[in-house]
């Protein structure tokens, strides 16, 4: 391939990426311009237009209503994401590299848990949490999100670890380490992309979850999504405040994406096989 041809391909690649990025940003654009308008200026026929003069009142108003609940969401999403990711990594390791009689059945039983329709189990869920004294606590929400997150996180790690050659386990055993040693020294360092994916999923799900938040906690223990939906779902909807709220609430998740994204490291596995 000539250098000119290669150059052209690179340029085309960037053009394509930028075009796709713009396409992805169209709805975000609508959210943004709506959030900067005054409520009476929001109307379907002018949805594409830029606001006449900036109005930050909706963002301030959104912040005033959401602010107190942000802390609860952090208290919920960070521990719940970490705990479920760690347990999921351990499960995935056991299920992919230490198969025993019946481990496929166990994998399936765990996996099936992700399909349970949450709306249909609210009543027993409330009863169980009440019985163990965790109704209306962030701790109770953490427990629920960890439990219902386990199937997906286990799946992510199991399939991720399954792609890692078994030779690595053997190598570890020859070095004299057992089950836990192989996990800590060989698999944990390799599992970073798995943690990135699991972390992105879990944090997003937990941070944005509304159903459990509204059913299992009361003010002032409610996460920020309840405040968000309360803004959104009133009798007269203030579209501008709703859009501004949605943007504000999405910022921590975006930060998580940016931070975790840094660990999409190339060639992790290649290096370790050599070493």
């Amino acid at each position: 391939m000539s250098i000119v041809w290669k150059r052209t391909l690179r340029i085309l690649l960037y053009v394509l990426l930028i075009a796709l990025a713009l396409l992805y940003l169209v709805p975000v654009y609508v959210v943004l311009v709506t959030s900067l308008k005054t409520n009476s200026a929001v109307s379907l026929s002018q949805m594409w237009e830029l606001p006449h003069g900036l109005s930050f009142s909706s963002i301030l108003s959104a912040w005033a209503q959401l602010g107190p609940n942000f802390g609860n969401s952090f208290e919920l999403a960070i521990p719940a994401t970490l705990i479920s990711a760690v347990i999921g990594a351990l499960n995935g390791y056991a299920l992919s590299k230490w198969k025993f009689r019946g481990s496929s059945v166990i994998f399936f039983l765990i996996l099936f848990g992700m399909f349970i329709p949450y709306q249909s189990v609210l009543i027993p869920l409330l009863k169980v949490l009440d019985a163990i004294g965790l109704y209306n606590t962030i701790g109770g929400l953490i427990l629920v999100h960890v439990v219902y997150g386990l199937p997906i996180v286990t799946l992510i790690f199991r399939n991720y670890f399954a792609a890692i050659p078994y030779d690595l386990v053997e190598a570890g055993r020859i070095d004299g380490t057992g089950y836990w040693g192989v996990f800590t020294y060989i698999f944990l360092p390799l599992s970073i992309p798995g943690f990135v994916v699991a972390g992105i999923w879990q944090f997003t799900q937990i941070w944005n979850n509304f159903l459990f938040a509204v059913s299992l906690t009361n003010p002032p223990n409610q996460p920020v999504t309840v405040a968000l939906v309360n803004i959104a779902g009133s009798q007269t909807v203030q579209w501008n405040v709703q859009m501004a709220s949605a943007l504000l609430v999405s910022i921590p998740t975006l930060i998580v994406y940016i931070l975790l994204g840094k660990y999409f490291v190339r060639g992790l596995l290649a290096g370790s096989v050599k070493g």
Binding site: V31, P117, Y166, G178, Y179, A246, R266, G267
Partner: protein
């Protein structure tokens, strides 16, 4: 397949550790998943169809009732159509984006965060925004019109169903309105598919690719002979997770279109929610949940068995 196989029968501390690792998970899922499914099955067999709890056993009556409604028949059609288009859409778009980002490009982090960002925004607002964008009178159609397009799509307001043959009480086919919803859902979730694919791509060792390249494989051959087979496990992960997400899709459609005219965009989850909590028909709501689970099991079990058997260590 020999990967996990050695020492299957002899007792070892390592196997013991593996089993012990899984016990806490099994215990909590035993209560929060299987216990609750058991509860739902029990409720679905009673006539608890008002705010007055009832233990009267009515057999499969609730199932028969629900299966005979126009709404639930529409839901079954819609969930199948939606899931297929949604998953294919996310897989294709996600893989395409991941491949583009894997070309050692500048500002990878920027593009990557941008493509996942939709997932971070609450459905409550994205649903509304997509309803505006795809409103045939005001949204993207204004732009299409300015390009001189004559027959503008009706988007989610369309009641057309293709190919449309009658079965039960409903018309079976692909409701065009659902495709508009699929666009919104793919926009929101394809970033996640991209992230998983990216992690999968980064897991393929460069040596294998290099070896193939030395053997004279071109870019296409490399992709189909090496990359794609290596991503099989990754694809399974995405399909399963997105199937679960698809079955539970609620917030986005609720905010965007609601049930739609003649239930063209209704979903079993919405039906279940309204039956249970608007209509207070708890037993019928539970029956919907159980039918959904059974349907799912009938799809997922064969798929899982085949992938497990094929051996995903490749």
């Amino acid at each position: 397949m020999q990967a996990g196989a050695p020492r299957k029968h002899r007792f070892s501390w390592d196997t013991f550790s593996a089993v012990a690792t899984l016990i806490p998970t099994l215990l909590v899922l035993g209560v929060f998943v299987y216990g609750f499914i058991g509860w739902s099955v029990y409720v679905s067999l009673t006539n608890w169809n008002s705010l007055i709890p009832s233990n009267t056993f009515v057999g499969l009556q609730n199932y028969l009732d629900i299966l005979q409604t126009y709404r639930f028949q529409s839901d079954l059609r819609n969930i199948v159509v939606f899931t297929v288009f949604f998953i294919v859409g996310c897989l294709v778009v996600g893989l395409f984006l991941a491949l583009l980002l894997d070309q050692k490009i500048r500002a990878e982090g920027f593009f990557r965060s941008l493509f996942i960002f939709p997932m971070a925004i609450s459905f409550v607002s994205t649903g509304v925004v997509w309803a505006w964008i795809l409103n045939p009178n005001t949204g993207v159609n204004l732009i299409l019109k300015s390009f001189g397009m004559k027959h503008l799509p009706e988007w989610f307001l369309s009641t057309v169903i293709i190919p449309n043959f009658g079965l039960g009480q409903i018309d079976v086919g692909i409701p065009l309105a659902l495709l508009a919803v699929v666009i919104a859902a793919v926009w929101q979730m394809s970033g996640f598919a991209m992230a998983v694919y990216l992690s999968g791509l980064r897991g393929i060792s460069d040596e294998i690719k290099e070896a193939a390249r030395i053997d004279g494989a071109g870019a296409w051959r490399l992709f189909f002979a090496i990359t794609l087979p290596q991503l099989r496990g990754t694809t399974t992960t995405i399909i399963i997770i997105l199937t679960a997400a698809s079955l539970k899709i609620f917030g986005l459609i609720y905010a965007m279109t609601g049930s739609g005219q003649e239930f063209v965009t209704d979903m079993p989850s919405m039906n279940m929610f309204q039956t249970t909590f608007q209509g207070n028909e708890f037993a019928q709501g539970a029956a919907i949940a159980i039918i959904l689970l059974l349907l799912l099991a009938s799809f997922i079990i064969p798929y899982l068995v085949s992938t497990l058997r094929r051996g995903d260590e490749a």
